[in-house]
Amino acid sequence: MKSGRFNRLRLLPIIAATVIAVMTIAVESCNDIGCTDLRSSIPLAGFYSSSTGSQVTIDSLLIGGVSAPHDSLLVDSGARTSSLYLPFRAEKPSTTYFIKYVRKELDFPELTDTIKFDYTSTAYFASADCGAMFIYDIKSISYTRHLIDSVAITDSLINNMDMERIKIFFRTSE
């Protein structure tokens, strides 16, 4: 009888360790989902035709931030694009971008369009996997209307969900 108890007590740590290991693997595998969104809040803007309302791909554009370091660009002239991310300045209440058209018949400085976003930024903890970031609440938009027809915001809250929230409608020919 004593030997039975002794054997049982000797086996107990092994049984406990095995159960804990199995439970740990099960718990962790059930709980590990990873970051399925972006790790920062960057608004995605899409280009649309004002005449048809459909998304368009535009070339011969230069797009960059006003006062960006080294006059760096987001889109260079050789690129064809139908959408792009427009990162906001977290420590500033607004961010302004310019769109310069470099096609020969449009390549005049006075035709360059600008879009200014005014917003508030808030420090935000998204999740353990996606981390911490700033989120933005767009308060207003102002823009020139040389070749831009209008700018629409589908959702003023910019967080790390990868979805298009800004629509830029250009005057395009049929």
Binding site: M1, I42, A123, F125, S127
Partner: protein, 313 residues
């Protein structure tokens, strides 16, 4: 002829004597058997002839036996489920326990959790109200990410009940399902560097000051418990839980909720050591003090007889 008369006379005497003996033996005697004879006759009258029986089920799910000859219908009482009686008293035992799951997990790298204590009151070895109290804390700087998450030590509380499926079996083994409601007032803060676009060349520091949150949640669990020695039990539990309510902050949701675990953890585990106090006011029987499966087959050791050869005188 004489001989024939003698035989006939002997036969008559023998018959008379047997008759007299038989009459003495059939003298009416009132005994329990004779008193219940009329009941037996009635029962025989109610008994169905099994050769003519068909079964059918009524709207309540009872099995009805129908005698196809007489048309008599009887509920088959052998098929009616019998609710087993409670084997153990209402006030059966009380327990205190410690959940060492989090300390063990922290030793192998988990970044949250401290320790938990529980108190239980066992009724009929079946219904077990539970109160749990614990302390939680988190400090996490994950590799490959941009933040340092802190949640200082905070209490949490859970109340609920376990149901022991083995309530009429030996209390040395318990297989239980339970429900819990838990809540915790706690706070958290985050320090991080921005991982946003480097386009603007600005290195932003993200600072979320201490946020005070109260969160409540429910849990359903399955729990196995085994007595290992005397009043000491060990138990393993799996629980599924979900947040019912929590305070909203403008800086997002907390990663860790004391007593709940991380917010993405729908499943958690527990490993508990429990001390149980018998409240029945009696000593446990000697045979119950043996470990499960090690009970002696015979209560008394048979006498060992002297096997030495004895001298025959």
């Amino acid at each position: 002829m004489r001989i024939l008369k003698a035989i006939i006379a002997a036969a008559v005497i023998a018959m008379l004597s047997f008759t007299a003996t038989g009459q003495r033996r059939i003298t009416p005697v009132e005994n329990p058997a004779t008193r219940t004879q009329h009941i037996s006759k009635k029962l025989r009258a109610d008994t169905l002839d099994r050769t003519n029986i068909v079964e059918k089920t009524d709207s309540r799910g009872n099995i009805i036996l129908v005698d196809t000859v007489t048309g008599k219908e009887v509920v088959d009482s052998t098929k009616i489920p019998v609710v087993p009686p409670m084997k153990y008293p209402l006030v059966y035992s009380a327990s205190i326990g410690v959940n060492v799951w989090d300390p063990i997990m922290r030793a192998i790298g988990q970044k949250y959790g401290l320790v938990e204590f529980s108190g239980e009151f066992n009724m009929h070895n079946r219904y077990i109200p539970v109160f749990e109290f614990g302390l939680g804390q988190a400090d996490n700087t994950p590799d490959g990410n941009n933040y340092h998450y802190r949640s200082p030590i905070a209490p949490y509380f859970r109340i609920g009940m376990n149901y022991n499926f083995l309530y009429n079996s030996s209390p040395d083994y318990m297989a239980m399902a339970g429900i819990r409601y838990g809540f915790s007032p706690f706070s958290y803060s985050v320090e991080a560097t921005s991982t946003g676009s480097s386009y603007w060349g600005e290195s932003d520091v993200i600072s979320i000051p201490s946020q005070h949150v109260t969160a409540g949640y429910f849990a359903i669990l399955f729990n196995l418990r085994v007595r290992i020695a005397g009043p000491v039990y060990v138990g393993w539990a799996f629980s599924y839980h979900s947040i019912l309510h929590e305070s909203k902050t403008p800086h997002g949701n907390p990663w860790y909720i004391p007593g709940y675990g991380t917010r993405t953890s729908a499943i958690s585990g527990a490993f508990s050591v429990t001390y149980t106090l018998d409240l029945t006011g009696r000593q446990r029987k000697k045979k119950e003090t043996h470990l499960p499966g090690t009970e002696p087959i015979m209560n008394e050791v048979p006498q060992i007889y002297n096997t030495e050869e004895t001298e025959i005188k």
